[in-house]
């Protein structure tokens, strides 16, 4: 029970600090913070907003799980952005150009997307294992290379088309290749059907990590590479597997939006879910349930921020609050860790060894 409280303390402190920080900014600009937050919650409680929150959270969840898989063994997959963008672009091209019978299309599209994501992450894995290149740097580079590659693929002379709004993108995906959604009562828009895939992924992620040998080896490397080696884990191989897995999950990030709402990949497709995923994975301590709460909180802030412009405060205050959350959550983790270590050292010292 104490363990639970210990792990919850840091994120709670971080969120509280961020709310405090946001309140101060609101006060400085003449808005009543309590009133503002109440309005945000009111706005977020409408069926439409709730649908939007669930939809955003679905996307964030995929991204955060992709990041968390890496984190679990101290790998830093900064490349989720590049992996999902490239994966979504390729998936959108396949979905836009080819019609499949029945639900086969959805299966094929998801599979292709995951493969592309894994392959793109695999380059970073190879560079790390074979050439000793830090995955942080290589994935940053690969993000930009992915952007160039997508720009090339989307050129009207190559595979892209001009969409209705005169934006360059992929052909509109036919109905058979779309992922059906479910609607909340009285909501004007449907919830992404892929939310169920996210739930399944969360369970699968938990099962893999906690109930399989593979997951144990992966976590062992993350906790202590030396002990993992002594226990017979091939660390290089695990690095490759973890990176591929992370990339495969990253491949899912863009699909809810693509197959559930937008039905085309344009050059304006949102490109920063990867960094959001890092923040949410941190907030949720890489735990499938924690990540779910983190994703919902993030999505709530994003959606409810829409109302802020009406109150005269720029809604970007939410981005500041999100940044404050990330920074204070890592500081809070570090501080609680140090307190814990000191407590343990004191205990061990008095025990005589």
């Amino acid at each position: 029970m104490f363990k639970r409280i210990d792990t919850l303390i840091a994120p709670l402190v971080a969120v509280a600090f961020s709310v405090l920080f946001g309140s101060i900014i609101l006060l400085v600009f003449g808005a009543n913070p309590i009133e503002t937050f109440i309005r945000m919650i009111d706005y977020a409680s409408t069926p439409r907003s709730m649908t939007l929150i669930l939809n955003s959270a679905t996307t964030y969840y995929f991204s955060a799980v992709a990041v968390a898989i890496g984190f679990k063994m101290n790998l830093f997959n900064i490349g989720v952005n590049g992996q999902y963008r490239l994966a979504t672009a390729v998936a959108a091209l396949v979905a836009g150009y080819i019609t499949f019978p029945g639900y086969l299309g959805i299966v094929v599209i998801i599979a292709i997307s995951m493969l592309v994501g894994a392959a793109w992450a695999g380059i970073a894995a190879w560079l790390k294992v074979a050439r000793g290149v830090s995955e942080v740097i290589s994935t940053i580079m690969l993000n930009f290379i992915a952007i160039g590659l997508i720009a090339y693929l989307m050129a009207p002379t190559v595979l892209g088309v001009k969409t209705a709004e005169n934006v360059i993108g992929t052909p509109i995906i036919p109905a058979g290749n779309r992922f059906p959604g479910v609607s909340l009562p009285t909501a004007p828009i449907p919830v992404y059907g892929m939310i169920f895939l996210a739930v399944a992924l969360g369970f699968g992620y938990w099962y893999l990590l906690n109930r399989t040998r593979f997951g144990f080896d992966l976590r062992a490397v993350g906790m202590s590479p030396s002990a993992a080696v002594a226990s017979g884990v091939n660390v290089k191989r695990m690095t490759v597997y973890a990176m591929l897995l992370s990339g495969a999950v990253a491949g899912l990030v863009g699909l809810p939006l693509l197959l559930g709402a937008q039905y085309t990949f344009t050059v304006n497709f949102p490109g920063n879910y990867g960094f959001t995923g890092i923040a949410i994975a941190l907030l949720g301590r890489n735990h499938p349930v924690g990540i779910a709460f983190g994703a919902l909180l993030w999505a709530f802030l994003d959606v409810s921020a829409q109302i802020l412009d009406l109150t005269g405060v720029p809604r970007e205050i939410i981005v500041i609050m999100q940044g404050v959350i990330v920074l204070s959550v890592v500081i809070a983790y570090e501080v609680t860790r140090r307190v814990k270590v000191r407590r343990q050292q004191a205990a061990v010292g008095s025990a005589g060894q």
Binding site: V136, I317, V319, I331
Partner: protein, 413 residues
């Protein structure tokens, strides 16, 4: 080419080596210009544009260098740069460009200060803290831009009113005749003419100032006791501590300077390049700066060359109407790989030779089989180059030994 290599290997003085390398680069450019038939490769416009594009990238790289030399990996450069663009725009449109520079410096200190607090005082993971700075910097600039510029004359929620321009220098007497000389297409001479005319064409005082920052960084970090101590903190903080160096202090100085440099890069974008603050103006240049610093082996000279190269490629992309310049880039890339491969043969590293050789062969055949290439080549080239350097020349890279490792006094390793 081998002649140049042997000069570089020989005991010749640094000046001679530099000159040899410079002439070799010009000769290569010249050959590529002729072979690919792209006169614009070394024209005044290209060089001048390249310089303007290189400065913000280079300053970001210099920012990365200051932090990493003190042992702190800074992937928050982008966020700090954004803060710089805002600071420059905010004070710049009201009180003029010089005040804009001051604003950028102040906001750079803010970004660097928060980053230092997290990474040095609290010792949190530097990559995570950098990510947070990127989010914070963006949110901060967007939020305050809306407040500061929405009601300003000529401004909007995502854009500041225009900032008055800083003086630029144009040496027409020197530049114009050189332009016509360049047009003649002489071997090497035209390249030299294009280069000089480009440098002295609408030269911004900020560009000169930035070059000064590079020189000052090189001098301070490698020639003064202060610099030695700052670098020692990035190499082995425990050793530095045992000799009485205040590790935390030097890390703070490194990270704060890093913030200022990156923010000045942002200021250049706002003041010199466009004359306004605009949302999304940095376009990932903080990350490119990080790449140039790695490309430049964590040294000011190397970073400058890297920034020049990246700026040059970007300039070619912007000016390339028909894709022929992209062909030239591919050819240049292939030649660079061949040089690296020759070096690797001498070191008997055949696996590397194989990798480089294959890549070079692919690039050359791509060059030969096409008449024009997509402009995206230029989008990808800098990052690909950095990855190739990391993958095949990492033995020659010397990052600070304690780069990225949080330091706690008394806790060894």
């Amino acid at each position: 080419m081998t002649a140049v290599l042997s000069i570089l290997k020989s005991g010749a003085s640094r000046k001679v080596k530099f000159l040899a390398l410079f002439i070799a680069v010009l000769a290569t450019l010249s050959l590529v210009r002729m072979w690919a038939d792209v006169l614009d490769l070394t024209s005044r416009g290209t060089i001048s544009a390249a310089l303007g594009l290189a400065v913000p990238i280079g300053l970001a790289g210099l920012g990365g260098l200051w932090a990493e030399r003190a042992g702190v990996v800074n992937i928050g450069l982008e966020g700090m740069m954004i803060l710089g663009t805002f600071g420059a725009g905010w004070l710049g449109w009201q009180y003029g460009p010089w005040a804009g520079l001051l604003g950028a410096i102040l906001f750079g200190l803010l970004g660097g200060g928060i980053f230092a607090l997290a990474t040095v005082t609290f010792g949190v993971d530097q990559i995570i803290a950098g990510t947070a700075i990127n989010i914070l910097g963006l949110g901060f600039a967007q939020f305050f831009a809306k407040i500061a510029f929405s009601k300003a004359p000529g401004g909007g929620p995502t854009q500041s009113p225009s900032i008055s321009a800083l003086p630029t220098f144009t040496f027409d007497r020197l530049s114009d005749p050189l332009v016509s000389l360049h047009g003649k297409g002489y071997f090497i001479i035209s390249e030299l003419a294009g280069l000089i005319s480009g440098v002295f064409f609408r030269l911004s005082i900020l560009t000169v100032f930035s070059a000064g920052l590079f020189a000052a960084t090189a001098f301070i970090l490698w020639r003064t006791p202060f610099g030695l101590r700052l670098r020692s903190v990035g190499e082995n903080p425990h050793a530095a501590d045992s000799l009485g160096v205040n590790v935390y202090l030097y890390k703070y100085i490194g990270v704060l300077t890093s913030g200022v440099m990156a923010a000045l890069g942002g200021a250049f974008l706002a003041i010199a390049a466009s004359g306004v603050y605009r949302e999304g103006q940095t376009g990932g240049r903080g990350f490119i700066g990080l790449a140039t610093m790695i490309f430049g082996n964590w040294r000011p000279g190397g970073t400058a060359i890297g920034a020049g190269l990246f700026g040059y490629i970007d300039a070619l992309r912007l000016r390339d109407a028909n894709g022929t310049a992209m062909r030239a880039i591919v050819l240049l890339g292939a030649l660079a790989l061949i040089v690296l491969a020759i070096l690797a043969i001498r070191k008997k590293r055949y696996q590397v030779v194989f990798g480089l050789g294959i890549t070079a062969a692919v690039l050359i055949s791509w060059f030969l089989l096409t008449t024009a290439l997509p402009r995206e080549v230029a989008l990808v080239a800098p990052y690909l180059a950095t990855l190739l350097v990391l993958a095949f020349a990492s033995q020659r890279l010397r990052p600070p030994a304690a780069d990225g490792i949080p330091y706690r006094k008394g806790e060894s390793k």
